[in-house]
């Protein structure tokens, strides 16, 4: 990273002004974008997308097929991007959460349960689901910060607990939402110029923008970066780093619950096994997007572009006739390579 600063040229009069501005703040404009990590991720995505044109020109240049595929890709990455918001906050702040896939399932399943069994209205059911997310986030956060359990262990435990609850709440294997027009707010589609745009995508983009501004511009956002960068230094200046981390855990679990609501609103039903493996894909999207796995650096724009990379890989593979097993295998390889590359770039 900082190859240009030589330790031998220390000192005032000779100070080199090798001042690479920080990747955040209002000073970053279009010109700066291309020197940033996000540009690289966007490029990577476009290359993968372009490979579809090379390997399957018949499909790529057929408007109907390609618009359908693209629309589906955006729908599929919506939950990754929504949960990825919280995961980015968490990782920048120096922690992570492996229980998001299970939380997603519990979110969707309890939402259906509140609507069908308790006959609650959509807003009330949504509120309760979000509160379940808050409670899980507080539990994760307190166990990690106050009890000192590493987040790897604490959130794997929570992963298992929540998956157990998801299965318990789906004795028939899955739960269905009732046929309510209001659910289209989350799971519907709007057709614009012949393109079916999934509402999930609008939620994802909207939340990424809102939380992106909060991360970059608020005092809390500054404290998230400082906490993950150097926790001791942050504490010395009076920042309550435990509080920062607990809030990040709450944000992540709540967004995971919300992603479950959004998904079940689209599909109309959700299995107890929904969301298995999400944690890996989401952490990969976050890290591919330039968030430092060790904290202190990262952006939501990067995470969103990272989600696109994660979303386009299976499409490329399916179109080229590769089986599901090989897809999983190659996705794993790509993730490890991406994270490895990231670590090497930072050296």
């Amino acid at each position: 990273m900082s190859d240009a600063s030589e330790p031998t040229s220390d000192g005032g009069a000779t100070e080199s002004t090798d001042v690479r501005a920080v990747n955040r703040g209002p000073s970053s404009h279009v010109g700066a974008f291309f020197r940033r990590r996000e540009a690289g991720v966007l490029f990577g995505f476009l290359v993968l997308f372009g490979l579809i044109a090379v390997t399957r020109p018949d499909i790529f240049f057929d408007w109907d097929s390609m618009s359908g595929i693209t629309s589906r890709m955006f729908r599929q990455i919506a939950p990754y991007a929504i949960i990825g918001i919280g995961m980015t906050y968490l990782i920048i702040g120096g922690e992570f959460d492996l229980s998001v896939g299970s939380m997603y399932a519990v979110g969707g399943i309890t939402f259906a349960m509140f609507l069908v069994e308790y006959r609650l209205t959509v807003p009330v059911a949504l509120l309760l689901v979000l509160l379940v997310g808050v409670a899980v986030g507080v539990a994760n956060g307190v166990i990690v910060t106050k009890a000192g359990v590493p987040s790897l262990i604490a959130t794997i435990g929570m992963l298992s607990i929540l998956r157990g609850i998801a299965y318990y709440l789906t004795p028939a294997g899955s739960r269905q939402t009732p046929d309510l027009a209001l659910l289209d707010v989350f799971g519907g589609q709007t057709t614009v110029a012949g393109l079916g745009l999934h509402h999930q995508m609008f939620w994802a983009i909207g939340l990424v923008l809102v939380f992106g501004v909060l991360l970059q511009r608020t005092r809390f956002g500054y404290h998230v970066y400082a906490t993950g960068d150097d926790q001791e230094a942050a504490e010395m200046t009076g920042i309550d780093t435990d509080r920062v981390k607990i809030i990040n855990f709450v944000l992540t679990a709540t967004l995971a619950a919300f992603a479950g609501v959004v998904s079940i609103s689209y599909f109309g039903s959700m299995f107890g096994s929904a969301g298995i493996g999400f944690e890996l894909l989401i952490i990969a999207a976050v890290v591919i997007g330039g968030t430092n796995l060790f904290g202190g650096e990262g952006t939501l724009t990067g995470m969103f572009l990272g989600s696109l990379v994660i979303g386009v890989i299976p499409i490329l593979l399916v179109l080229n006739g590769l089986s599901v097993e090989i897809q999983e295998f190659l996705t794993g390889v790509v993730i490890i390579l991406a994270v490895l590359l990231d670590i090497l770039i930072r050296r």
């Binding site: 220390d10 005032g12 690479r20 511009r217 956002g221």
Partner: protein, 269 residues
């Protein structure tokens, strides 16, 4: 200088870690507006002494007084409330963040608009402008928007000092501010210290480097094995006397060794 009305003094200040006597019975005092150096060999108790003065360690026994008032610090915020700021040996900077963010860490200014106050939006323009002012005060050129990890050692030291000045302290404690720097970097930091003294700050400077200390301090307190061996005015003391005090009861062979390693320090850094 007289110690009639010291800004800071201690009485029989003692800190033990188990049976290690890190600081033992130290009666120490600092006069307003002076640069007081604390020197001593490795493990002499310098860091432990100042950590009691800035609220990190609780004394085992003894008292601390600020302007004659008996004080008890539970943490660095308590010390800060009495106008004591510290630049730690490890600097404690968030290296991936900007200079401005580090200067204001934990005290980011909020925008003066209803939305700004509601969302607690950081006033970045003000942060950049004010950290520039603070950095100008230390007279080492640093871009407030630069990432700290891309700065030289001297510039990082300047950022840590600028942050300490943010709360407008009366007493600034610096633990080994020159030890990790090149000759040029160290010279700059010494110039900064001189400038701050001229602005009226009281400075407690911890250092291994006797040459640096003789060049900048008004007085020198010498610690050896946790005890205060003596206090000297810089004007009427020489290097050998300081070293003799530092060595305490130890014999001359170590004295030779120390001379060697100490004089090579500046050229290899």
């Amino acid at each position: 200088m007289s110690d009639q009305n010291p800004i800071l003094h201690t009485e029989q200040l003692t800190k033990r870690f188990g049976n290690i006597h890190a600081v033992e019975d130290v009666d120490f005092s600092v006069t307003e507006g002076e640069v007081m150096a604390i020197v001593g060999d490795n493990g002499a108790g310098k860091s432990t002494l100042i950590k009691m003065l800035c609220g990190v360690h609780e004394p085992t026994s003894g008292e601390i007084y600020v302007r004659g008032e008996n004080v008890h610090f539970d943490d660095y915020n308590d010390a800060r409330a009495y106008g004591i700021e510290t630049v730690y040996q490890e600097l404690a900077l968030a290296e991936s963040q900007s200079v401005a963010a580090n200067v204001f860490l934990g005290h980011e200014p909020i925008r003066e608009s209803p939305l700004g106050r509601l969302l607690r939006l950081v006033d970045e323009d003000r942060m950049v402008a004010e950290s520039k002012e603070n950095l100008d005060r230390v007279k080492i050129p640093v871009d407030p928007k630069a990432k700290v990890q891309n700065l030289s050692g001297g510039q990082q030291q300047a950022v840590a000092i600028a942050r300490a000045l943010q709360s407008d302290p009366e007493i600034l404690i610096m633990d080994e501010p020159t030890s990790a720097l090149s000759i040029e970097g160290a010279r700059n930091v010494l110039r900064v210290i001189d400038g701050l003294r001229n602005q009226g700050l009281t400075i407690l400077l911890i250092s291994h480097n006797i040459r640096h200390v003789l060049g900048i301090a008004d007085r020198i307190s010498v610690l050896a094995q946790g005890r205060l061996m003596g206090v000297r005015n810089t004007d009427d003391v020489d290097r050998n006397e300081i070293i003799a005090l530092m060595m305490g009861a130890q014999d001359g062979s170590e004295f030779e060794e120390f001379e060697l390693s100490e004089s090579s320090e500046g050229t290899t850094a």
